[in-house]
Amino acid sequence: MPLDSHIPSGPMAMKWSKHKQDSKLINPKNKRKFTILVVGSGLAGSSAAATLSELGYKVKCFCFQDSPRRAHSIAAQGGINAAKNYQNDGDSVHRLFYDTVKGGDFRAREANVHRLAEVSVNIIDQCVAQGVPFAREYGGMLANRSFGGAQVSRTFYARGQTGQQLLLGAYSALNKEIAAGGVQMYPRTEMLDVVTVDGHAKGIITRNLVTGKIEAHAGDAVLLCTGGYGNVFYLSTNAMGCNVTATWRAHKKGAFFANPCYTQIHPTCIPVSGDYQSKLTLMSESLRNDGRVWVPKKKEDIGKPPGQIPEADRDYILERKYPSFGNLAPRDISSRAAKEACDDGRGVGPGGRGVYLDFAEAIQQFGAKTIAERYGNLFDMYERITGESAYKQPMRIYPAVHYTMGGLWVDYNLMSNLPGLHVLGEANFSDHGANRLGASALMQGLADGYFVIPTTIANYLVHQKPGSVTAEHPEFKKALEVCTAQTKGFLACKGKRSVDSFHRELGLLVWDKCGMARDRAGLTEALKRIPELREEFKTNVIVPGSGDACNPELEKAGRVADFMEFAELLCLDALNREESCGGHFRTEHQYPDGEAKRDDENFCYAAAWEYTGDLGKPTLNKEPLSFEEVHLAVRSYK
């Protein structure tokens, strides 16, 4: 199937303005007749639901948490980028665009990225107007910090809780609209399926997580804003509930899944301490502004207390390898540097899986008080988890899965190949290519929700008759039956192994074979093992309790079942992409110095996978990527 990304014509800097001009408008009276189903209430979902309701559409919004305010966006710490150039350090829309395309290792769609950079400035204005308490300087102006992958200070932040503050802003806008009657909110409600009618997405099936009731909701368009799939690795920095269910089931209804192998590993996480571990904790990479990453030069030193290792015996790996970016090198590069050092036998801490992040010099230079002001909450968090104080000894850090660049394929209007199905935020694939720069996911979620979809959705709706499909349609009945049967199946299985034990095994497998570094042999092995594990899951999982009440094990079972299927596509995509780029590192494809080696001739495309009914044999559709503004180049941070 040919993929039309509907990128507007004209010069890069004018595309979005032109598209806004050319986009259809819907008569205010008619807007009220359209019902839009928004799944997800993170930055993307809340901002979209609120704004669409302000415009007059009828909105239903769903999330699985008990309150929309708890969506996973809440956990973002570091900040949000915007090309405000308040620091007068040479930033501009073009530079943010350039950095993002380069940071994505030339695997993002230029036009989308440019739009993102353009609206970034509006986001900050919007958030400030909502009362988001960004950090400020004494004069009352907004403060900025710098973040990995950029040489300008363009990151806005709210202490270590930028995500929470932005989400609370979007949530307040959502609340305003709920109070005004424009949005109906369904918390503790999980989406189980997309319903298509004549090839258009016209509704969803949900399960009420309190009563267990499985219900159908019809609408004129569906927006999936359901976040990333990082939990396929079991251990990640994502919240426990993050899942691939919504996007995966949409995929099985025909939506293309693009670039699943682009997964991001975050360098500054707290290392694993034991096999009971349920998640990994990220500490903002802003820590790298003042912390220095090192490991002992000599393997014999790894057991020594860090304080007893003299300067001369320390290897400051990032400063050595990337002198111009130093400790601020992008995430994929920093993560791999840490992995290399550990593979080299110079890792510290339990299992030798950790590197030091040292603040001793910064504390000496600025004083412990200043450092506490900057990172106090992170240091406290570190101490709570590890029982060690970063004021007294260097932190131990290790990379962990953090973000997923891949997602459902969308065009410039954020619509998937399934008409009516729109995908926003981390759930789509479009803006970050093979690697996301710090502080740009929040930017994307809000850009999509506040500024893009409210304009572009009309291009779909204008061709639709509002309310043409109701939940009485036979397709809904069919989908209801499928979902009910699946739930019953889990409960009836009565096997021996818990859902978590399967998830753990799957996660470890995917992390080993398709984590920070991948190769053909490992991926092939994983592709053999995943279907076996999936089969075992089907026959040997145990889910206690009943389907018609609150039952967390049942919720997990549904999510893990989908991860089991999705993992295969993840590995297939990784195997197909015979190059290294951004977060996807194939050990077969590297320069002699260990840097990722892209293959622009053969792989300068987005891989959009189509479900065929056979999980092992999806069809590959390619969206070729062209680079008009930022010329393809080897991404170097040296």
């Binding site: 305010r69 308490p133 609340n175 988890i385």
Partner: protein, 262 residues
């Protein structure tokens, strides 16, 4: 790393039915595990024995989403100061300890199952005024309105509230004043929030009362239990803002209270 042997007394309840404490033995718990990981281990063992695992709310497991909510040994989120349940680690307990684990209890927080409670009352309070009425569009440039660092920092202090409900759980009256005051206070402090200050204050306080929370008796148990160390000074401010708003409502040109709420 050492292992702990613990005796748990866990509240078990199905919605609408009376509940009871179940005694559960929890041997061999690694002291590096978090409290929720301890619960995971316990649940795995219950499942293996064919029993119903303990339902509890959680999501981020890093102390920011506000989803986790357990009364541990009589204190919300357990004994560590400024720490959520998910951030509490087992090294804070001793082998042989008996640990009481209960849901956050309040009439306004009905139990859904075991340790899972319904905190949607907080959302309804927020809807009654916890926002600034501004449309998505093109507000003025963010730096066109300078806000002093002190004011911005104060607003941020209040904004740090994660809406967990520990303040309600700790209070002998199940009062929601700390939560409500933090939410109203953040916006009432900022210049952007000033135009709707009275309307917001009245709307939120009235919704809070309607939800069946108790009244503040100034004992500050909320502040002691709050994982984000929200200060009771926000309650002082809410009392003050409310008094001003009500006098203006009674004697001035009365504002209409923000609509909706339920």
């Amino acid at each position: 790393m050492s292992q702990l042997n613990l005796h748990l007394k866990v509240w078990r309840q199905n919605a609408g039915q009376p509940g009871h404490f179940q005694d559960i033995e929890a041997p061999d718990i690694p002291d590096h595990a978090s409290f929720l990981e301890m619960m995971d281990i316990v649940n795995e063992r219950l499942i293996a024995k064919g029993q119903d695992p303990v339902a509890f709310d959680h999501d981020c497991r890093e102390g920011i989403c506000g989803m986790c909510s357990m009364q541990i040994n009589g204190v919300p989120h357990g004994p560590e100061k400024a720490t959520t349940t998910c951030q509490l680690h087992m090294r804070k307990f001793r082998t042989g300890d008996t640990i009481w684990i209960e849901p956050f209890r309040a009439k306004a927080f009905p139990v859904i199952k075991d340790l899972v409670v319904d905190r949607s009352a907080f959302d309804r309070i927020q809807r009654a005024g916890g926002f600034i009425t501004v449309r998505t569009g093109s507000p003025q440039d963010a730096n066109a309105l300078p806000i002093g660092k002190e004011v911005a920092d104060a607003a941020m202090d209040a904004a740090a509230c994660i809406g967990c409900g520990a303040c309600v759980a700790a209070c002998k009256n199940a009062s929601a004043m700390l939560f409500v005051s933090a939410k109203a206070g953040q916006l009432n402090t900022l210049p952007q929030g000033k135009p709707e200050k009275d309307r917001r204050t009245l709307g939120m306080v009235r919704q809070m009362d309607k939800e069946g929370f108790g009244n503040c008796t100034n004992q500050y148990e909320c502040e002691a239990a709050c994982p984000k160390e929200i200060s009771v000074r926000w309650i002082t401010k809410l009392n003050r803002d409310y008094a001003v708003a009500i006098v203006k409502e009674a004697l001035g040109n009365s504002p209409k209270v923000a609509g909706g709420g339920d």
